[in-house]
Amino acid sequence: MTAVLVIEDDDRIRLALLLALEDEGYEAVGAATAEEGLRVQRRDPADYVLVDLMLPGLDGFECIRHLRRDDDVPVVVVSARDDTHDIVAALEAGADDYIVKPVAIKELTARLRALRRRARAGVTGPAPEPVPVLAFGELEISPDGGEVRRAGKPVPVTRTEFRLLCELAEHAGRVLSRQQLLQRVWGYDSGDERLVDVHVGRLRQKIESDPATPRHLVTLRGLGYKLQR
């Protein structure tokens, strides 16, 4: 059974979400504070973590950073706040997705399923046929091994970042629009393009020697992104 950790300080929302998620076949666990949530996750890791941003004590952004430090569990923010500032900050802190309250349970579970599809190839099972390691200068991507190396050293990336990188690597030298990436990496028919921009920004921090003037992961204004040698 897939386990979901819900970190939400509002008791009623938490209870309702737990009930609804259990109805949808998830094993749902609740936590009222970030500290409690982090404790639960360390002791008994869930497959997904839903986080509210406004939490007493440690706030949602800090909570995401702590979660990211420990492992690459998919983290989805579920917040009533929808300022660009909050969304970008949460994604930059390491969240994989951002959902604005209120969200219908069907929509929430659809997003969780999409996240599952883009879980690491090595985690979801053996690939039907081996894909060779893709090299972009000193950058090496091994889609099967779920590994990214720069100048021989492994680069720690989250599942979403890895999926994004693989998608771009499979279409090396070709431009993918933000909508195409949203569809292929996040599984959205239409969604917030800031999601793509923030993840690309985070990837650049990890794979580019100078993230401000990227050499491999380049932006084509008004078109999208391209990975090149």
Partner: protein, 451 residues
């Protein structure tokens, strides 16, 4: 008749004032100059006539005087013509029939009484001055002085003074125009600022430092704008805050409703109906809150990027279970427009939703161009929109009359308001007209979105 503007009136008053002043000055100077010149001329003419008369008198004092020779001996130049009336006969240097008639009878009479006299006359259309000096009981000496040169001087003088008067009037008008422009500049600044504010730019302010006399106007204007902006911002924030505050409880309701919905078959009929109503209304409530939040922040300008509008329109149709074949792209229009994806998707969704709810389903979605503007048209077969409703339909919480008669009222009442606001964010607008052949045609124009 339209009332003349302040500027025109002030300019005209300046011009008329200057003209009156200049004209009276010119008239007075003309008269004074003229009088003094004529007086001077009369004195000169009189002196010359006395001198000539003395010469003639001396010439006549011989036994057999040759009158004509005497007259010819006078050094009169071209300006004076001597005439002698001697023993009832007229003598002149040359035979000139007009000369004698030029001497008026009353002058002759006055001179005949023994006194020299002067009179101004016209000789053959030319101005002249006639001086008469009695020589003896039977002889009278007359001299006709041409005033032609003097007259020409007067004409030049009059012309010069008229020109000056006209120029002064023109300068007066220019001064008035300039003064009002200068004087009205603060008002122009106020008008500019007011226009900017009306267009939604609440940062527009007047500079209170420009003119100390207008500090009060500027500061009270700025204060008014500050308060207005503050009030609008407060209202906007209140709407946004309320909507945000509603989101959290709505999340509870949405999750709880889905739990109820899952168990609908286990509930008795009445409870299931009630649970269904709750779920539907929560759904509508959610859309209302989302629309309100969208409205609260949609007054910012659009973030344009290249968007495949045809694909977007087809997606919007499919999302409402409508055939994608409804979408038509005009031959001269490209499929990719420079627009904000989220807003255009919402425009399409709301127009289609409106057509489904009030127009009996959309009859077509047409994408075309109008210059550099992308045009989205959604048509339906419904009853159309009456002329008096065509403006109000884009206001908030206005729903079609059909909604009241049908009692459906499924919409949030904000759909078309959002359409209008998203169009405005692209510096465009939304309108509704009759569709040829019945129904309504909603048209959204998005300027600067096509190359």
């Amino acid at each position: 008749m339209r009332r003349l503007g302040l500027r025109t009136r002030v300019t005209a008053a300046f011009a008329v004032g200057a003209l009156l002043l200049a004209a009276s000055m010119a008239l007075v100077s003309y008269e004074l100059t003229r009088r003094s010149l004529i007086d001077e001329r009369e004195r000169t003419a009189l002196r010359a006539a006395y001198f000539d008369a003395a010469v003639v008198r001396a010439g006549l004092n011989t036994d057999t005087p040759d009158v004509v020779e005497v007259l010819r001996s006078l050094d009169t130049g071209g300006g004076r013509r001597p005439v002698l009336h001697l023993d009832g006969a007229w003598y002149a240097r040359t035979a000139d029939p007009g000369t004698t008639t030029a001497i008026p009878v009353d002058l002759r009479r006055a001179v005949a009484s023994g006194e020299p006299a002067v009179q101004r006359v016209r000789v053959a259309g030319q101005p002249a001055l006639v001086v008469g000096v009695p020589l003896s009981a039977t002889a009278t000496y007359f001299e006709i002085n041409s005033l032609r040169e003097l007259e020409q001087t007067f004409q030049v003088l009059a012309l010069a003074l008229t020109t000056v008067a006209i120029m002064v009037a023109g300068s007066g008008a220019a001064l008035g125009w300039y003064a009002t422009r200068h004087g009205l500049r603060p008002l122009t600044a106020v008008a500019d600022a007011a226009e900017k504010i009306a267009a939604g730019d609440f940062t527009a302010r007047l500079d209170p430092a420009t003119d100390p006399d207008l500090t009060r106007l500027s500061s009270s204007f700025n204060q008014m704008v500050d308060q207005l902006a503050h009030r609008i911002e407060r209202d906007r924030r209140f709407a946004a805050d309320v909507s945000h505050e509603l989101r959290s409880p709505l999340q509870t309701l949405a999750a709880a409703a889905s739990v109820l919905a899952r168990r609908r078959e286990h509930l008795d009929e009445r409870t299931a109906t009630a649970a269904g109503l709750v779920a539907d209304e929560i759904d509508r409530f959610q859309r209302l809150v989302n629309d309100l939040i969208d409205l609260a922040r949609s007054d910012q300008p659009a973030h344009r990027q290249a968007v495949d509008v045809v694909a977007l329109a087809r997606d919007a149709c499919q999302a409402l279970d409508l055939p994608a074949s409804l979408v038509h792209l005009a031959a001269d229009a490209p499929a990719t427009w420079q627009v904000e994806r989220r807003r255009i998707a919402q425009i399409l969704a709301n127009l289609l939703d409106n057509a489904v709810t009030y127009g009996g389903g959309p009859a077509g979605v047409r994408l075309s161009r109008d210059g550099d503007a992308g045009v989205i048209e959604v048509e339906d077969d419904g009853p159309g929109v009456s002329i008096e409703d065509r403006q109000a339909i884009f206001d908030r919480f206005v729903r079609g009359r059909a909604a009241h008669t049908r009692g459906a009222g499924d919409g949030t009442g904000l759909g078309l308001a959002l359409v209008a606001q998203h169009a405005a964010a692209h510096r465009g607008h939304a309108t509704v007209t009759d569709r040829p052949g019945g129904g309504a045609r909603f048209r959204v124009t998005l300027p600067e979105s096509l190359p």
